[in-house]
């Protein structure tokens, strides 16, 4: 297992500071419910950074971490739907809850293959929403242009999630060493995009 290096630690600390700053600053133009959902998403990034800092990359082997990590894309995509496409709020709430509990159940009570088969579409849908919605809305002029950065952050987060999901399923797209080498930088760039985008 790759050891956490000093640069890795610095990047984790930076991720924690950036995500914490966003939570404290708040999200301009979003309602209380949306702010709560966005804070949950950023909060998971704070906790993830702290856990990686304290426990190292080994923590990613833990089943609970995979489940908790899905909270960020689900909660972030849900807040975007509630804010920008309110007509789909109810159906997406249902989808998110169903997806989360399906991931929770399969992670503990079924094989890695089935768990990955459930994880991939749930992550995929949430990732597409986080990527496309801010880009489309900012291009249409319905949101400030900087909002597109949320989409960029979403795409990067999605890449990280996919790399880890495939690694977990036993069919890694990149070697474990490479994934763990780029993960700290990926996390900090993703969080920076969210900070600038919101």
């Amino acid at each position: 297992m790759k050891k956490v290096t000093v640069p890795d630690r610095l990047l984790f600390v930076l991720t924690i500071i950036l995500a914490s700053y966003l939570i404290v600053k708040g999200f301009s133009g979003f309602t209380e419910t949306e702010t709560t959902l966005l804070s949950i998403a950023m909060g998971v990034l704070v906790i993830a950074g702290l856990l990686l800092l304290l426990f190292g990359f080994e923590i990613l082997e833990n089943k609970a971490v995979v489940v908790v990590a899905t909270i960020t894309p689900l909660s972030l995509s849900l807040s975007l739907i509630v804010a920008y496409l309110p007509q789909f709020s109810l159906i997406y709430w249902v989808l998110v809850m169903a997806g989360f509990f399906a991931i929770l159940f399969t992670r503990y009570f079924s094989s890695n293959k089935v768990a990955a088969m459930v994880l991939a579409p749930v992550h995929g849908i949430a990732g597409l929403i986080i990527f496309l919605l801010p880009v489309v809305f900012s291009l249409n002029g319905q949101a400030p242009s900087r909002f597109a950065l949320v989409g960029v952050g979403g795409a990067l987060f999605g890449i990280g999630g996919l790399l880890l999901a495939f690694l977990k399923s036993g069919k890694p797209l990149l070697s474990k060493e490479t994934i763990f080498s780029i993960l700290p930088a990926l996390l900090v760039i993703t969080t920076a995009c969210f900070v600038l985008g919101f």
Binding site: S20, I23, V24, K25, G26, T35, T36, S39, M42, G43, V46, I47, L50, L51, L54, F55, A64
Partner: protein, 291 residues
Amino acid sequence: MSIQSNIHLKVKVYWPLIKSLQTGLLLMTGFTGFISSSCPVMNWRMTLGLLGSLFLTVSGSTILNMVYDRDIDSRMKRTVHRPLPSGQINANEALLLGLTVSLLGLGWAYILMPLYALVVFGGLFIDVVIYTIWLKRRTAWSIVWGGISGGMPILAGRVLGTGRIDDIGLLFMLAILLWIPTHILTFSMRYNEDYQRAGVPTFPSQYGIVPTRLIIALSSVGAALAIGVGIYALGLSWGYLRLLAVLTSGLLGLAIVSIFRPSEKINFGLFKYASVFMLGSMIMVVIGAMP
């Protein structure tokens, strides 16, 4: 050997006596209490006075504890190499240093404000006399008094800023008092054998591991609640409460995992997380309360 290298050597040997990390964290809490009163940050005389007097009294009480506990330290693997049990420093010399440093700190504190000095003295007295000399070797519950003395610097800082003992200061002190079990009990579980060998009663040895883990979880919740109410009472923005909720959920999550899936790694992770939690909370109050 030149005088310079002699002094360097002395400092190197004496420095571990003050437990610099612990002292630093307590200084941070004192500074937080001071800033929370919205005193002008650039009031250098008061700020330096607070940090200097607290540094001296906290260091002094730590040295005095080290002197009194040197027999315990010599029986524990973790502490056997400390300067006093290993014979690098003479006990009388350390006692004299501890008393001098403490008195200097108290004197400085008195010059700043008598009520502040009284609170600082309270912390020193409770830590050295009540906790270390009287209760530490008799009961596991001594940590409550250890917690009260640990909460004194933040109260002292607040008193120096406001000129009185108020509800917010007491809330912050309560938060530290409730946080101490998370810190100390995870530590005493990790070094349980050491403490048993030294004959120091601890919660794990007196009540067992599971009740100890439960107490850790409950005290974590209590500490977070006390800090949360304190932040709310200070009138900080909701953003700080949201961040506190995030940090608390991590602390609580680890505490729960340590109950149901205990392991040495989780236990020590919880110990480290608790320190980060307290440091993070203090930074939040400092930034949020800055004028």
